[in-house]
């Protein structure tokens, strides 16, 4: 019952406690106090999550900081939380973006503030719960409960079509997750008593929803069972990612959501799907995963190219960034389904990168929207003259997003490409080519908004970013540079966890050389050492 065993619970429930404090202690007129409490709570939560970075031991057991407690013994669902390298990074991303989301909302949200911060804090708890759960029922509970605050964030504080966007977001993602639940149940019964009426005997183990126990049977599940369960999981996760052709909820949700909502949505919520794949689909259903590679990769590549092309045609900045997410997450999926260490590592790193850069882009769009109340690219032009700091920050984030070396996007995309190349040259060529499209739409956006003469009178009086706004962006920019220049600590944290996934999903991979290099002369070795 020490620090390490309770740390995850504390991180997960601090925002919930904060929400309860706001609900029961503060009145809705005390808007300053509400903001302070919310900021302190998410800030504290971020500080609390930092020990994970320092204390997580990559050489240690697969899941650390574990906490296990009986929950529903009747069905074998336990309260089991724990983290590996992948979830550590995603938790840190969540707490950081949560803080930024709250901090960036001070002036953007002017009505119903109390409810706003309560929902934002509840959303934090839901997301953190997803990343720490190691029991399927617990995971599913957080996974669905998270939809409710997000529904309200879009539906109450969103744009003109908020009601449509909110319900579409909710139903779309819910539809996917209920099918996933059927997959979870099938897996659960296959492990224990089997499915009687369709003549599928089970393995006879103690019924459990514990993921770490189910990992042990991954190789014993027959292919046809894996196929159906994979399909159920795939629908749930692919909608959340979102992969082409399940992406249609995303532009609506993003465009209508308030800035902080978009930051959380792009930064963390979209990672839920990819996280689901890497945490559950790959290690639990290795056979089906291998067979699904061509299909998933095809969809991922279509997503990359389609997202980029559609982004290029957008007139609305926010919509452009939204479609760029479809393209970026196609890249993440591509790297993941290379099923080798480079691809998977790049994939997870790119999840973080996308969270930072796209989160940053939504913040930037939000900042200018607050000033001008328009997001149309055509309403701007020559902004660099009046908002130089803003222009510079926008430039850095843009470069991070398109993958310029020394920035994080480059490291992620490069690692993914190495992994993909390792599996198929064709895919790698297509994927690398599509990077040009990404550079195309982002730079074109930048050019139209910032360069040239100021074409609209109203833009001449625009104020540059204030200190608070700068401080929402500076952490992101620092991290972009950090990952871009010295990514080693990130790789170090990810490596063993990724290795465990690869061992299951492609056994023997780690024993074969990545490239068929010509054999070096034996005499060369002693000289090197």
């Amino acid at each position: 019952m020490g620090f390490a065993t309770n740390l995850l619970n504390v991180i997960c429930y601090v925002p919930l406690l904060g929400a309860l404090v706001i609900v029961f202690v503060l009145r809705k007129e005390q808007s300053a106090a509400i903001k302070t409490v919310a900021t302190v709570v998410v800030g504290l939560d971020f500080v609390l999550s930092l020990p994970l970075w320092f204390l997580y031991d990559p050489g240690g057991p697969a899941f650390q900081f574990s906490y296990v407690h009986d929950w529903i013994p009747a069905v074998g669902a336990r309260y089991h939380v724990g983290v590996d390298g992948i979830s550590v990074l995603l938790i840190l991303l969540t707490t950081l973006l949560g803080f930024i989301a709250v901090y960036s909302s001070f002036t953007a949200i002017t009505h119903r503030q109390k409810e706003y911060y309560v929902f934002l804090l509840l959303l934090q708890t839901g997301m953190l719960g997803v990343f720490i759960s190691l029991d399927f029922i617990l995971f599913y509970l957080f996974w669905e409960a998270m939809l409710v605050p997000m529904y309200f964030l879009i539906g109450i504080w969103g744009g003109p079509r908020k009601l449509y966007a909110a319900i579409k977001f909710f139903l779309y993602t819910l539809f996917g997750s209920v099918l996933m639940l059927v997959g979870i149940l099938a897996l659960y019964f296959y492990n224990s008593t089997g499915l009687k009426a369709i003549g599928l005997p089970g393995l006879g183990h103690t019924p459990t929803f514990d993921v770490t126990d189910l990992f042990k049977i991954a190789t014993q599940i027959p292919p046809h069972v894996q196929f159906w369960v994979f399909l159920a999981f795939f629908i749930g996760f692919a909608i959340k990612v979102p992969m082409f052709p399940f992406h249609t909820w995303l532009p609506d949700a993003h465009v209508e959501a308030p800035t902080a909502g978009s930051v959380i949505l792009a930064g963390v919520l979209l990672k839920m799907g990819t996280y689901g794949f890497i945490r559950f689909s790959l290690p639990l259903l290795p056979d089906a995963t291998r067979k699904a590679v061509p299909w998933v990769v095809t969809l991922a590549i279509i997503g990359i190219v389609y997202g980029a092309l559609v982004a290029m045609a957008q007139k609305d900045m926010k919509k452009l960034v939204a479609y760029s997410s479809v393209s970026h997450l196609g890249f993440v999926m591509l790297g993941m389904f290379a099923l080798n260490p480079q691809g998977l590592t790049g994939s997870v790193l790119q999840m973080i990168n996308h969270g930072l850069s796209t989160g940053g882009l939504f913040l930037l769009v939000g900042i200018i929207y607050e000033r001008r109340h328009t997001r149309m690219i055509a309403d701007y032009g020559g902004i660099a003259k009046v908002m130089p700091i803003y222009a510079m920050m926008f430039m850095v984030i843009t470069m991070a997003s398109i993958g310029l070396p020394t920035l994080n996007g480059f490291i992620g995309e490069f690692t993914i490409l190495v992994g993909v190349f390792n599996r198929s040259t064709t895919w790698a060529v297509i994927a690398a080519t599509s990077l040009v499209l990404g550079a195309g739409y982002m730079l074109w956006l930048y050019q139209r908004v910032f360069f040239g003469e100021i074409t609209h009178e109203e833009n001449k009086a625009l104020k540059d970013v204030n200190l608070r706004e700068q401080w929402t962006l500076i952490p992101l920019i620092v991290l972009c540079f950090w990952i871009g220049i010295y990514p080693k600590p990130f790789f170090r944290i990810l490596e063993p966890s990724i290795k465990r996934v690869v061992e299951v999903v492609d056994p023997g991979y780690l024993n074969r050389p990545a490239f068929e290099l010509p054999a070096a002369p034996p005499a060369a070795h002693p000289q090197e050492h």
């Binding site: 009986d70 929950w71 529903i72 013994p73 009747a74 069905v75 119903r112 029922i137 599913y140 509970l141 957080f142 669905e144 409960a145 939809l147 409710v148 529904y151 309200f152 539906g155 109450i156 908020k162 009601l163 909110a166 319900i167 909710f170 139903l171 819910l174 539809f175 209920v178 099918l179 639940l181 059927v182 149940l185 099938a186 659960y188 019964f189 008593t193 499915l195 009687k196 009426a197 369709i198 003549g199 599928l200």
Partner: protein
């Protein structure tokens, strides 16, 4: 004989006290709502205590009155649930009756008589006893549906309910008589033995089919559901709440006793029928609810859909299936009573405030009650961390385990669809604002509000820590008079 009377004591106590309440209501010159309601709640509580004492003093495996009546844990679970739901309904009715100026005496007595009927249904191990209980419950409920004699809608509800209910009882009775003709017994255990021993003839099969139709009618499953929306809309709202939980749970109790118990040997010939009814009910209930603007009608279709989910558990069968239905009935009872509590608070006079649009902006004016309604809607839709999620999880788990994956796929897809109409109410309460409409006022109804709080707390508690409730529902396994 002494043991027989002890087993029947809870029903005797409640029936006696119901008559006391009835007489007290007649004797008092002016309507004494608070006093009589308190009396009714105390009577139900006293019955609950008697029930636990009686259950402790008798052998759960024994049958009383020459094999007519059982007091096993299945019966105790359902009776506790009925007493609880009736007590909550009495509290929901308190402010409502006062506001609409109707006398409480007969009303409360009828609720209690109906409860006696439901309790008898849960205990009956002989088809005749079950039928007697059913009729006692049904007759009381017919009157209650028409209790608001100054409202035309209430008359209409009672007339429709009575005509169609009587018809279904007739069908059911005809089924019983055919089964009796074919097997020579109405005792469930004997019936199971006879049916298992010989290949059943067409008479028995037709009897079972008619029985199934009658039962599906009582739980309001498609295609026997058409009476539900009109009756639910027209009846006084607390009675709608009552009908949607108590009699429905009682019908499921009898369903489980008769089909999973006595008619188990014929399972092959009725399972597909129930499966088809479940699919139709889930699809039709949910799809029809999508287009309803009247909240009571919407909740009526929603309750049809929920009967469909519960039928999935019946189809799954076995101890797991039965347990999941029991647990689901508990979950559904607290959720639905809470939801109707909110509807009651909104109805300012007569039937005003029933359309979805009347809910606009309520979250601003009444945050606490609106939050309760949010929980109930999420629970009905099966979203965690509410009880509805846990209830559906166990139902669907039982069905997957039994191999009915296709049925579960239909069920989960339809529950995703159902969120659309549940969220319509949430949307009105939380997301609509500033459209020039003044948000409606909730009437001051302290007791109704307390019921909402109790139900809301229960919904969260069962949703987060379901273990003890599941244990209560699980303790009933294998007690259906099965070999």
């Amino acid at each position: 004989m002494r043991a027989d009377l002890i087993a029947l004591l809870p029903e005797l106590v409640l029936a006696t006290l119901a008559m006391v309440v009835l007489l007290a209501g007649l004797a008092s010159g002016k309507p004494r709502h608070g006093l009589l309601s308190a009396g009714a709640v105390l009577a139900l509580a006293a019955t609950g205590v008697t029930l636990w004492l009686a259950a402790g003093a008798t052998d759960p495996a024994a049958h009383f009155f020459s094999g007519m009546f059982a007091l096993d844990r299945f019966a105790v679970f359902f009776k506790t649930l009925f007493l609880l739901s009736s007590a909550l309904v009495v509290l929901l009715s308190l402010d409502y009756l006062k506001r609409n100026d109707y006398r409480p005496g007969e009303y409360l007595a009828l609720v209690m008589f109906a409860t006696v009927g439901m309790m008898t249904m849960a205990s009956g191990v002989n088809l005749a006893v079950i039928y007697v209980g059913l009729e006692l419950m049904a007759l009381s409920t017919y009157i209650l549906a028409g209790y608001f004699r100054r409202e035309v809608k209430s008359h209409e509800a009672a007339a429709k309910y009575f005509v169609l209910g009587a018809l279904s009882s007739g069908i059911l009775l005809y089924g019983l008589s055919l089964i009796y003709g074919a097997t020579g017994t109405l005792d469930l255990a004997t019936l199971a033995r006879v049916l298992a021993g010989a290949k059943p003839g067409p008479t028995a099969v037709v009897g079972v089919a008619l029985l199934a139709c009658g039962f599906l009618f009582k739980v309001a499953a498609v295609p026997f559901h058409v009476w539900t929306p009109d009756v639910y809309e027209g009846a006084p709202t607390p009675i709608t709440a009552f009908m949607s939980v108590g009699p429905k749970a009682a019908a499921f109790a009898m369903f489980l006793r008769v089909f999973v118990g006595g008619l188990a040997p014929l399972a092959a010939s009725w399972v597909w029928l129930m499966g088809a009814a479940a699919v139709l009910t889930m699809i039709w209930g949910n799809v029809a609810a999508l287009t309803q603007d009247n909240v009571k009608r919407m909740l009526a279709y929603s309750s049809i859909a929920h009967a469909g989910y519960a039928l999935v558990g019946l189809v799954a069968g076995g101890p797991a299936g039965v347990n999941s239905v029991l647990f689901y009935m508990l979950v559904y009872t607290v959720t639905n009573l809470g939801a109707f509590g909110f509807v009651i608070m909104l109805e300012s006079r007569g039937y005003a405030g029933e359309t979805v649009a009347d809910y606009a902006g309520l979250a601003r004016r009444h945050p606490a009650a609106a939050f309760g309604m949010l929980l109930f809607m999420l629970s009905l839709g099966g979203i965690p961390p509410t009880a509805g999620f846990m209830g559906k999880l166990y139902l669907f788990a039982a069905a997957v385990n039994a191999g009915y994956v296709w049925l579960v796929v239909v069920a989960v897809v339809m529950s995703a669809v159902s969120l659309y109409y549940y969220l319509r109410i949430v949307l009105q309460m939380y997301l609509r604002e500033g459209d020039g409409v003044e948000p409606a006022e909730l009437v001051a109804a302290p007791w109704t509000e307390r019921v909402i709080w109790v139900c809301g707390a229960a919904v969260l508690l069962i949703g987060v820590l379901p273990a003890p409730f599941l244990a209560a529902a699980r303790a009933t396994a294998g007690l259906l008079g099965l070999p």
